[in-house]
Subunit: 467 residues, 2 copies
Amino acid sequence: MPAMASSVSARPAQSTLSGFPEWLPAGRVIEQHFIDTLRHTFELHGYSGIETRAVEPLTQLTKKGETSKEVYLLSRLQADPSEREQEVDPAKQLGLHFDLTVPFARYVVDNAGVLHFPFKRYQIQKVWRGERPQEGRFREFYQVDIDVVGDGALPLHYDVEAPLIMHEALSALPIPAVTIHVSNRKVAQGFYQSIGIGDDQLIEVLRVVDKLDKIGPEAVAAELVEAVGTTQAQAQAALRLATICSPDPQAVREAVAQALDGAEPTELLATGLDELSGLLTTAARRRPGAIVADLKIARGLDYYTGTVYESFMAGAEDLGSVCSGGRYDSLASNGKRTFPGVGISIGLSRLLSRVIADELVEVSRAVPTAVLVAVTDEEHRAASDAVADALRRRGIATDVAPTAAKFGKQIKFADKRGIPFVWFPGAQGEEDSVKDIRSGEQTPADAQTWVPSDPQDLRPQLRVRGA
Amino acid sequence: MPAMASSVSARPAQSTLSGFPEWLPAGRVIEQHFIDTLRHTFELHGYSGIETRAVEPLTQLTKKGETSKEVYLLSRLQADPSEREQEVDPAKQLGLHFDLTVPFARYVVDNAGVLHFPFKRYQIQKVWRGERPQEGRFREFYQVDIDVVGDGALPLHYDVEAPLIMHEALSALPIPAVTIHVSNRKVAQGFYQSIGIGDDQLIEVLRVVDKLDKIGPEAVAAELVEAVGTTQAQAQAALRLATICSPDPQAVREAVAQALDGAEPTELLATGLDELSGLLTTAARRRPGAIVADLKIARGLDYYTGTVYESFMAGAEDLGSVCSGGRYDSLASNGKRTFPGVGISIGLSRLLSRVIADELVEVSRAVPTAVLVAVTDEEHRAASDAVADALRRRGIATDVAPTAAKFGKQIKFADKRGIPFVWFPGAQGEEDSVKDIRSGEQTPADAQTWVPSDPQDLRPQLRVRGA
């Protein structure tokens, strides 16, 4: 018996619609493993799973304005004219959600009377964006969010717990190491205040600094001076701030003081540095190496109000942030009550498509099946069914051969799918036997007691390629 | 310490959009348990999980014509005029899928070159229908499908395996017993041929017979004669066929012979009865009580080509069929190859909404958390975090109190969420202790070794109400 292939390619399925990825069964084994692992970690930390409907009123989706271009609108194919008019009313017009934060905020307000706060939830669902598809951008993709939301107030310790939990979850996946980079809106805004850049210029400054990796420090300094109207000294200070990247709270404090070059720190900067230092101290104690302060982060600072997160996977920095989030002083509000929140979100499909495209992960088989029971002839299919049912009752995923073909063909059926064992029911009065088709070894077996010698064979196994 | 509530209501969440159900965390615990249990059973039987994209081209969705009114169309909010024109082209216009069969058939054709046949897959996803919402009808709902699809041919034994697996899966849920009713297109069509009703009248006859439960036998007979143009004798024969309901293949054969009242059975009827008898014989052996022949079933016989399934939950017959399906000689085709299939599908959201609305199932808590670690004061939060991390490493879902409030308030935090245990870290040099807040019993404990005396307390438990 020749050696059998021990793993199955997890190629994407044939995609006939650009931007809407689908996986072949092997790819789905990987995706499902990722989802199960993430969920398990979140539940260990006491997060409740919820799902929200796929649609929201357009008014809800476009509250923030800028994302409106990405929304898919819905209409009924057979809508009558009066209904079509309704749909023009943005309060009644429905669109598909483009993230899980907007629906979650709406869910919190809808159910504020019965939820218990602080409310910790995870949410793993597909979202849709009507963008023109390009590499790494999908129109339909899985997002994986955790958030904690408070009623009126939310203690600061959640700012470090959210990324630590996400780091623990990502570390349980068969992927390269992920590092979470944090900054703080108060640090950035306070720093710019301290060097004389007004709050009215903040968004513009952040927009330019965000281009640092793309256009380099000279171009950023030039644009700050020419387009935003800062002084040369302010531009240089902004660049000094952007170079600060360290897991050590004391080092960050000292580097910020140096970057100020003698300018007096404002109260906001002091508050921001206290928040950031506290976060780094706890992170270093609980998960050393998970989190670094990175004061270059500018994206998200326009809508987050405190801590912000971005995350990078070793060797895949070109992917951009695989996991982002931050704190909102007002994630949601119903007029009377305000709900602050802090959360972090994985763009799972993008991460997964890289993992699968680069074949970073192998899967031992594309089917759940551990055992294929052979069928001697169709008259004895019942005997094979009985073996299969006995194995299943003991938790062993089992299939039965589709036809009573020659045994060689039945073995090939198993081999093509990566099923490791083929079971041969014994003739009247004779013992059954089971063959490990990878080694060719065949041994007598009893369906009431048999287990594979390696329990890992019970389930498809994921392996990091080369590991 | 007063006795604590031992279960949590699983009410639906506040629904602000009719037809788009959402659950509070307790309801989601039930939904997730249902999904996990179904998936586990399907995998034990060797079914691969797949997901398909949420959208299909309109041409794909409206192939069968009649369902077109239920389709939600998509458009991009910020589409430019040339794109808007594109969307009028039904080959480019996208709509949300309204079931999982149409996308699965398309997936099979797209990937026919790399899939291994017979291909067994399960699929658990939301689908959308742009219907006017009414009781038990949703615009967004979970569907749970299993199908086996062959390349060119598909052995008949899959016709009994599919419903038996579904029955096994449903039996593992905390719901009243479900019985699967089967009929066969060939039996119905062959019977009507035998009594002289032509194939051209078949669809009309089935449409009328389908009203039997609603309008009664007299009205059905009258409509068959007056509207369809059968003879009185033919109408009476149709009614006799519709009364046949039995798990016993021999009884079914005899009843059909009687219903023919001397008419000569056609070859098609004989084939259909052989298929149905074989199915009943296997079903009686493998899962007695799971399946009955029910020759009143008329729905689906217009598009299924052999076996058809409907299923009813004891005490909830008014819900209609909770699980339906059948065999297609051509589930899919790419011109050169034809892919026959047999499958069965649960309308999970409808089933679940009944289970939750009637409070048929209770859940012991709405959070995954088994233990809440109390915080003595904020300076010692690290000690509570360390306990929590130690418990989590051993698979025990643990939360830490949000603030160092008075212990009474921290216990109340746990009680409100149904968390059974509160952990108190010992002061310097003293032992920790854990309190079962339902009994009030408090005992010394070590986070490295403690387990709850009842392992069921590790996870939220579902109970059938009154059981």
